[in-house]
Amino acid sequence: MSTDTPGASADGAPSRAELAARVGELEDALAEATTEGDARKMSIVATKGTLDMAYPPLILASTAAAFGYDVTVFHTFWGLDILHEERSKNLKLSSVGNPNMPVPNAVAALPGMDRVTTKMMERRIEGNDTATIEELVETSLDMGVEFQACQMTIDLIGYDENNFYDGVTTGVGAATALQDMADADIQLLV
C-alpha cells in the first residue's frame, strides 16, 4: 500500500495532508494563546488594616504594575481601611500579640500603648524615607492598579463609599475576586 496517497489511507489512519492541516491549526491556536495572554495578571486579597500589614499588598501591587502586570487588589474586612482616604493616614500598629516588640505583652496591653508603638513606627517610616500608605495608594492608582472594596464588608462595617480614594471600585464581591484569581498568574492573600 502506498503511503503518499491523498485522503485517508486504507487502514483509517489520517493522511499526511490531514496531519499537516491539524498541525497548522494547533500552531495557530498556540500562537493565539501565547500572545493573547501578553499582560500577566496578579490578584491580591487584602484583609488586614494594621500599619504593618497594609504595606505588603501595596508594595507588591505597585511593583507588579511596574513590571507591566494587570493588578487587582480586593480589599475586605479591615483591609478596607487601606482604601479609606482618612483612615489610611492613621493606621495603627498593634503592640499586643507580637512577641518581637520591645515591650512584654502584659505592658503592651496597657491603655495608650498602641499609640506609642504606632508613633514609633511612623517615626521610623519617616526617618527611612519609606513611602507612606497614602503615597503608595496614589502611586498604585496612577499606575493602573485596580483597587476593589468588598461591598459586603463596606455595609457590615458601615463605611461610606464616598470616603474611599477616587478610582476605587465598589459594588464587588467574592465572585469578582474569584474570577480575577482564576485569570491571574499570581494570587496572594494578605
Partner: protein
C-alpha cells in the same frame, strides 16, 4: 566607564526606598523614546537587585550597566521597544 551609550535622562531617586526606585524608574522610562537610556541614581542598596530583577522581568527594557559608588548606586536602563 567607557561611554558605550549616551544618557538621555537622569532620574534622581536618592533617599527613596522600596518600592519607589523601581516604580519611579518604570514611570520615567514610559516617557522616553525607544533607544533612550535612563540613568537612575539611588541610595537604596536594594535597588541593585531590584532594578536588575525588574529589567529582566519587564518587556521593552534592558539593564545596560550598574555602578556602585560611595553610598550611591547608578543604574542605566535602555528602552528597547
Amino acid at each position: 566607564m567607557s561611554a558605550e551609550f549616551d544618557i538621555t535622562e537622569t532620574l534622581d531617586v536618592k533617599g527613596a526606598s522600596c518600592p519607589m526606585p523601581v516604580v519611579k524608574t518604570k514611570s520615567a522610562i514610559d516617557d522616553l523614546a525607544e533607544g533612550a537610556v535612563l540613568e537612575v541614581v539611588a541610595t537604596d542598596p536594594g535597588s541593585v537587585s531590584d532594578i536588575d530583577g525588574w529589567a529582566a522581568g519587564t518587556k521593552g527594557v534592558e539593564l545596560v550597566d550598574q555602578e556602585e559608588g560611595d553610598d550611591v548606586y547608578r543604574h542605566y536602563v535602555r528602552k528597547t521597544e
